[in-house]
Structure formats: C-alpha cells, structure tokens
Amino acid sequence: MLRWLKPWGKKRGARRSGSRLLGSLGEALFYAFLFLLGSLSLVVILTSVRLGTWPSHHYFPELFFVEVTGKVVDQRRTPIDPPVGSPNVQPEILVKLKTQSEPVWVRIADPSVEREAALLELGKFEIGQDYTYWHALGDLRQIQTTEPTRYRFTLVIVTLISLILIGASGVGRTVVQEGTTPERRASIAQRAADLDLAGGTNHTIIDYPSVPDDVEMTNSPGIHFAYRLPIAHSPVLRLLAAAVFSLVWTSIAVVFVQVVVGGFLEGKGEWLLGIVTVAFVALASWSVYDLFQQLAFLVGIGPTSIEISHYPFYPGASYRLLLTQGSHMDLQYLKLMLACDEQATYRQGTDVRTEVRRVREDAILDLEQDQSKRDSAFEYECELRIPENVMHSFRSPNNSIQWKLIVNGKVGNWPFERVFPIVVFPEDSI
C-alpha cells in the first residue's frame, strides 16, 4: 500500500518517533526563518526611516512630523451635520505659523464635540498667544496641537527585536543540541545548577541529590514533640478560594439581575439576557451554599496535626508520633496510615498526564469511636516505624517517590482526608 511521506513523526512525549536529524533540521529552519524575518524587516524599516521613504513614511507618518510655533489669530466653532445623537460642533483656531505666510485653520478636537466642550477647548488657546504645533513634513493639512505619539513604531521595533532574539536563540540551541551528546548537555546543566546551589543554605539537595527539599519538615515546632509536620493542602486555602469565587460570581450575578430587572420595569426586558441571568444566579447560589458547607466542614471537623519526636526519617528507624484531631462534633472513626506513592508524569501528544501508584500502605491507627468528643481534642500517641529496606523519597522533573502520613476520618456525616508529606532519607546516610 502506497504511503505518503510524512514530514514529521508523531510526538510521543519527549520521545520522537521520526528522524531526529530531520526534526532538528526543521526546528533550525523555523528559527532561522524567524531570525531572517526579524532582521530583514528591521533593516528595511530603519533604512526607510532614515531615507524618509516607504514603508515608514506610509505606516508611521508620525515619525516625520515637524515641530513649529505659531500665533493664534482667530477662533471659530464650525457647526457640522453629524448622525443623530452625536456631537455637532467642531472647534478650530486660525494659526499664523512662523514658517508660513498664510494662516491656516487647525482643528483642536477630533471628532466633533458638544457646544460646551468646544468652548472649553477653545479657551485653552488665547488669541494673540504663541503655541507649539506639529505637522507632517510638507503637508499643512495634517497640522495638530498635540505631540504625535510613536508607540506604534516602538511596538513594531520591539516585536522585530523579539523575533531576532527568539530566532537566534532557537538556532543556537538547536545547533548545540545536535552537536553535543545528552550526557554532555546534562553535565553542563548540572554544573550550572551546582553553582546556584552553592549559595543556598539547605544541604539536603547538595548532600542527597534528588531527595526532595525538607526545609518544611522542621520549621514548625510542636507542643508535645519536637516538630509539627506540614499539611499538604490546607483546608483554609480551599475555603479562601471558595470565598473569592463566591464573592466574584455573586457580584456578577447581582449586576445581571439589576440590568434585567431594570429592563423589565422599563418595559424593555430582554428574555435571552434573563435566561442567562437565571443561570448566573443559580451558580451564584450554589457557590454560596458550597462556601457555607466548607465553612461548616472546617469548623465541624477542626484542625488535624501530627507531631514527631525527631527528624530526619530513615528506613528502619522508630519515632514517637502524636496525632491530634480537634472537633466540635462526634468522631465516627479515625485512621492513620503511612503510605508510599510512585508518581509519573508523561506527555501524550500535547496532553500532560500524571499517574500515581501506591506501592506501600501501613496502618498505624484504625479507631472506631462512638462516644462524643465535642469538648476535647482527640489525641493519640504511638510509635511510627519507617519500614526497613524501602526506597527513599525521590523527586526528578517527571518522576517522584512520595512518602506521606494520611489521616482518614469521619466527623458527623463528613468523611475527610488530610495528608502530611514526609521526606525519607536513604538507609545508609545516617
């Protein structure tokens, strides 16, 4: 069966199924095109500015305006015939330029304005006084009282310089990538990273490469034990996000309701806008309900904290642990477990996917609690033993091994889960 030649291979994440050389060549050509486009356009524009020819003269006439001074000798308000409802006066001043023998009429408001505004504008130019004007070179029809802005020209120049830089860096990167081995590139990148780390204070990253940063583990002292572990996702932040969303959405819905109700009261109601408003109000109502649910959830369940006797964590070592669960409602059950997850991130085409696989789960506490704990926080002290012969915590850009303590519980009718990430070091590192 005849197959068409494919100019490029299907992307499979960072791995390319087609020719690597052709891919690099295409990439280099693309960036070279950007570089040439930017360079040639910049040269053409700057040359035309210098010579005063096309394209600058046509697209950026403001570059060729000249500054002149002149005396105001007369004023007038020219009535015009605008569309219904538009302003109908054009204020003008008669100016005697120092470079011209004949005076010229200059519009000082564009477009036309109302009569009162025209008087206000004319009041800025007293008869007999000298003012500064700008006009196109050799064309007094384009005379104006304000200095022409050059932001369009600046924007184009910045865009062209960006194209040149992107193109040059892209070609350079492609050439370097094609001319060096992956190990050499990684070595150069590693040396650069080491230079950055040399100024840092955390020795974990330097002494234990690829072990996650553990600064958060010890920066919060506990009450009963040495350290209080940080929580993965604070429920307060979720509550704050819900509050912001609810506030913004409800405000939008209120504006919609005001517009729609006002329209109906004036007899000019729009049914389509009304239907949209109903949807907005429904979502706003749900967001308020969700906000109060989360508030009740946070207050009802109360804070969860875990304190540990010492740190760092090593495989085979034991620690004292204190779990505290504050609650204003009945605690139905509470579980505490030590878990280890593998996490892999990969690209499928343009999608980025993450897969998590649990490789270990050890129960530490499994408690069925029927009695009420409304008045005091639940506390449970036990031994935490990190299993022997297990992999340490690990993190690289696309892969990681995450150890964590997980608290599962149910307060009232609300089940909840709170996660406390921990860093386990290699066994031989004590």
Partner: protein, 132 residues
C-alpha cells in the same frame, strides 16, 4: 571488522554502596586506521517506566585523542568516581531508577562508538504490586 569499544567495571560486584569508589575500564579495538576525535566518559542515572525520562549525570569527562592514544591501543583506559548518597537504584511499579556508565568514542570519520554498563547503587528491593 568494525571498530569496537567495550566498557567494564573493575572488581565488579552486585551492589555498590553510596560513597564507594567505582572504577571503570574501557578498550577500543580494531580501529584500523580510524583516528579518534574525542572520548566522552560518564556515570549517570536515568529513569524508566511510565513517566518521561529524567537523566542526571554524576560524572562526566570529555577528552581529545591525546587522552587515549597510546593507552587505549596498548591496553585499557580507566576512570573512577565516588558514588553519591542518592538516588539509589530502584525498580518500582511505574518509576525505575537505573545507574550506568557510558563511553562514547567519536572517530575522525564521523562515526560514533558507544557502550553502556549498568550497575546497582544501594540495595532496595522491588516493592510488592498493589493498586491504589
């Protein structure tokens, strides 16, 4: 016969401990008039499995022809490095960490020879399979 490069570990054993010095030896055979432009020796780890590959080079050395000519033809060239404390070799369910040494020889003809020798850092057993 085409030129061949081989890379072996001196005094090879099953697992290497963090901080241990590991010595590698490489030989280049059957050059038959081919000149050597450069040689790259590296010790690195890379990930395998479900996720996109990550690679970090622990040791890297690039030398010109003068670094091997005279030694490689006579016998073998050596390089050594002290192994880091982490990451340890690991064969998980969807994440695997593989340590290896690589040698790349660039010939004046434009051809490239390479050889890779894996080894184990640490002694972490495979985890039992369980789904989340």
């Amino acid at each position: 016969m085409d030129p061949v490069v081989t890379l072996t570990i001196v005094d090879r054993h099953r697992n290497y401990t963090p901080g241990e010095t590991i010595v590698f030896e490489y030989t280049i055979e059957s050059l038959q008039g081919n000149g050597i432009q450069a040689v790259e020796a590296s010790v690195l780890w890379y990930t395998e499995g479900k996720g996109d590959e990550d690679m970090v080079v622990h040791y890297f050395e690039r030398g010109g022809a003068e670094s091997v000519i005279g030694e490689a033809f006579q016998g073998a060239c050596r390089f050594e490095t002290e192994l880091p404390k982490s990451p340890l070799s690991y064969e998980g369910l969807i994440v695997k960490i593989q340590w290896c040494a690589r040698i790349r020889v660039f010939l004046t003809s434009g051809a490239e020879l390479h050889h890779e020798t894996p080894f184990h850092l640490g002694e972490v057993p495979r985890p039992r399979s369980r789904s989340k």
